[in-house]
Amino acid sequence: MISVALGLAYRQLTVLFKNPSLFLPPMLFPLMNFMSFAGGLSRLRHVPGFDFHSGYTAFTFVFVLLQSAAFGGVFAGFGIARDFEYGFARRLLVSAPQRSGLILGYALSALTRWAMIAIVLTTVALIGGMQVGGNGIDLFGMYALAMIFNIVGLLWACGVAMRFRSIQSGPLMQTPVFLLLFLSPVYVPLSLLTGWIHGVARVNPLTFLLEAGRGFIDGHPTQLAAAFGVSAALVVFFAFWARTGLARAERAG
Amino acid sequence: MARSDKVSRDAGIEVIGLVRRFKDVEAVAGIDLTISPGEIYGFLGPNGAGKSTTVHMLTTLLPPSAGRATVAGFDVVKQGSKVRASIGAALQEAALDPFLTGREHLRLGASLHGIRGTERKQLIERLLERVGLTTAGDRKVRTYSGGMKRRLDLALALIHDPSILFLDEPTTGLDPQSRSALWTEVARLAREEGVTVFLTTQYLEEADVLADRVGIIDHGHIVAEGTPGDLKAQIGKSTVEVVPENHDELGRLRELLLRFGEETAARPGAFAVQLNGKGELPSVIRALDTESLRAAEINLHQPTLDDVFLAKTGRTLEGAEEQA
């Protein structure tokens, strides 16, 4: 299973690095969003009730980090759909002794790819003057949450790709993730949201991750049990979703 | 151009010293051609030989770097729009919009050529019927098979009743049945309607069956030209291949056959020679009989266009494909 996973991950990353058009958009989008939010919206920290010590750049960094993680997984899902559409996935299904290794392989490549995006994003944020209140353990916690969210994104997209086996399913992979992201406290803390969006954000699982991540970078970890509990539940649920997707693909032949 | 303004069918294609360079590469290196009205001219060569570049220049899609060409009596550089009004072209890729129906393609093509109203409607139905797409006419092209796309492509090329038709590898990727149907229609156009056909192909059989004359292009140069029969006659040598009944007698068979010609490639367990002259086969059979050498199989191969290609370029067409 491990050899299948490593072999597939190596192939995915090779394809990725040889095609800038596949590699650059997932890298550029978070950077552009980060610039737009941190540069254009920093005045929001003056809104009465905005209580975050490390500044607006750090506040928005956590969201963009999680966004890059989720979309890193989704972009990897595009690759899976492409493999099915062009028939390469059938070759994989035929040759892999342990087919679950395929999901693991796609997950490994998605994680590696996102790790690079995270490094670039963090470097840009630090150069841009981001304040970090948390210590090393806090930051480890923040990146761990983002990493788990990357896997959740990949498992979701993987399940969709294996059910539809067509690049046409791309919007279906993206749109729910986009909604999940933007129906959370993106620009201001949860307490400052009003109306229906407050109600939705309160029950949005991403809100727990976002609040915990912001707590980590601010040096005041908060809602850790809820955040890691929700993350674990999401991984289990979407692992099942991906595995049943693989089973469907196997049945489709 | 209005259909009433039809071009004459009295002029074919004249090409003198046509050259096309792409930076340092000379894709077409000074070719001369004369194609008569109503003739089917087969332009044969491997991928990358310069066939499509020549077609693009003759159809005004690509300006030549040097030389001169007239198509239907019009200069391809100075009278581009008149050339386009006289020609129809089905280029290498069946360039169709997958989201339009066959009928919509024809409607768009006819309208852009200034054909309107009842005349357009009747023309579209006639062409759909001719290429066998009447029932599929309202289906989107994305649902068409390769053969159907090629037939629609041909109908589109014919929409303004051109006097000269350019077909760039029209049967590549088609199944034998679709290929044969397309050959029949192309032959009919030339024989019954007097359309001049310039056909590029990498299939020897296609050129052999369809073309009145064949030009072989390699590395941008025309290396041979003539009717398929003449070209094969220039090579003139048949090949005989013999499989001995007893494998141990292969050495004796070799000695015997070398008296009649030069050794050439043969299957394992067989020996073959290119015969020195015509009518040598009976002599070979008599010699086998005289020397009590029993043959399990005797095959006589007539020269093909591939032999012509081999003789003119030193390579087989297949081998040239790999090098191209």
Partner: protein, 258 residues
């Protein structure tokens, strides 16, 4: 109808038909800006508490963003379609007909304009239904639609230029983030005077997209502001002019028929 007008109509019709037959192409550009409008108008509502914020409805403030986003999507669609025509050889097929280069360009833009118009009408209708009051009245609403269509035309033509230059759908898609970046570094989320980061405010100030947004925004939240309108319409027309010029030159290179 003159020959060229007839050709423009034919090419535009084909462009619209092919887009209409691909729901996966037109549904996301139509709905995505609406979703973002709904989400951001609530998510960023707190911004209206900032001193100096020009309105107490963030939805009214944010509506022009949807028109801009729709125009960018229309640009990507027009570009991708033309790139596919180059890639598949359909452009060569058209080049062999008596179609004129100008008709081909304007017709292709016509597809983007058609989609842009539908989008603009839908966005405006949704905004009005959601309670946005256009201070400049009906005339203002008409002017917003007009500017939205001009912007879609400008970006649509820019998309054509990119398609003709790159000759591949992939090329157009990878350029799309750069165009989107123009939107992100504009005054889309806050008025320029409330942007406190200097480099961002400077970028937003030299970014023509800011002025297109501000012209539409002025009609929604403050009424008739001649300066904002002149700048907005001026930049939109300049974008159309420059993009047309670039596209026409590139078309000559791409369609080098004699």
């Amino acid at each position: 109808m003159s020959v060229i007008a007839h050709q423009v109509a034919l090419i535009a019709q084909r462009s619209l038909v092919r887009t209409a037959r691909q729901p996966g192409v037109w549904i996301p550009p139509l709905t995505f800006p609406l979703i973002l409008m709904a989400v951001n108008s609530n998510g960023l509502k707190a911004a209206t508490h900032l001193p100096g914020f020009p309105t107490n409805s963030f939805l009214a403030f944010f509506v022009p963003f949807s028109f801009m986003q729709g125009a960018l999507f229309a640009s990507a669609i027009a570009g991708t379609d033309l790139a596919r025509d180059v890639d598949t050889g359909f452009l060569n097929r058209l080049a062999l007909t008596p179609v004129r280069g100008a008709a081909l360009l304007i017709g292709q833009v016509g597809g983007a304009v058609g989609l842009g118009t539908i989008q603009a009408v839908v966005y405006l209708a949704v905004a009005l239904l959601a309670g946005v009051h256009i201070v400049a009245g009906i005339g203002g609403a008409v002017l917003i639609l007009l500017l939205a269509i001009l912007v879609a035309t400008g970006f649509g033509t820019l998309g054509l230029w990119i398609a003709l230059r790159t000759g591949s759908g992939e090329g157009v898609q990878s350029t799309f983030p750069l165009l989107f970046f123009l939107l992100l570094i504009s005054s889309m989320n806050l008025p320029r005077n409330l942007i406190e980061v200097n480099w961002f405010r400077d970028l937003a100030t030299i970014n023509p997209v800011s002025y297109m947004i501000e012209a539409m925004r002025s009609l929604v939240i403050s009424g008739w502001d001649t300066q904002a309108l002149v700048l907005g319409f001026g930049f939109a027309l300049a974008l159309i002019g420059i993009s047309l010029l670039l596209s026409a030159r590139q078309l000559k290179v791409r369609m080098s028929r004699t």
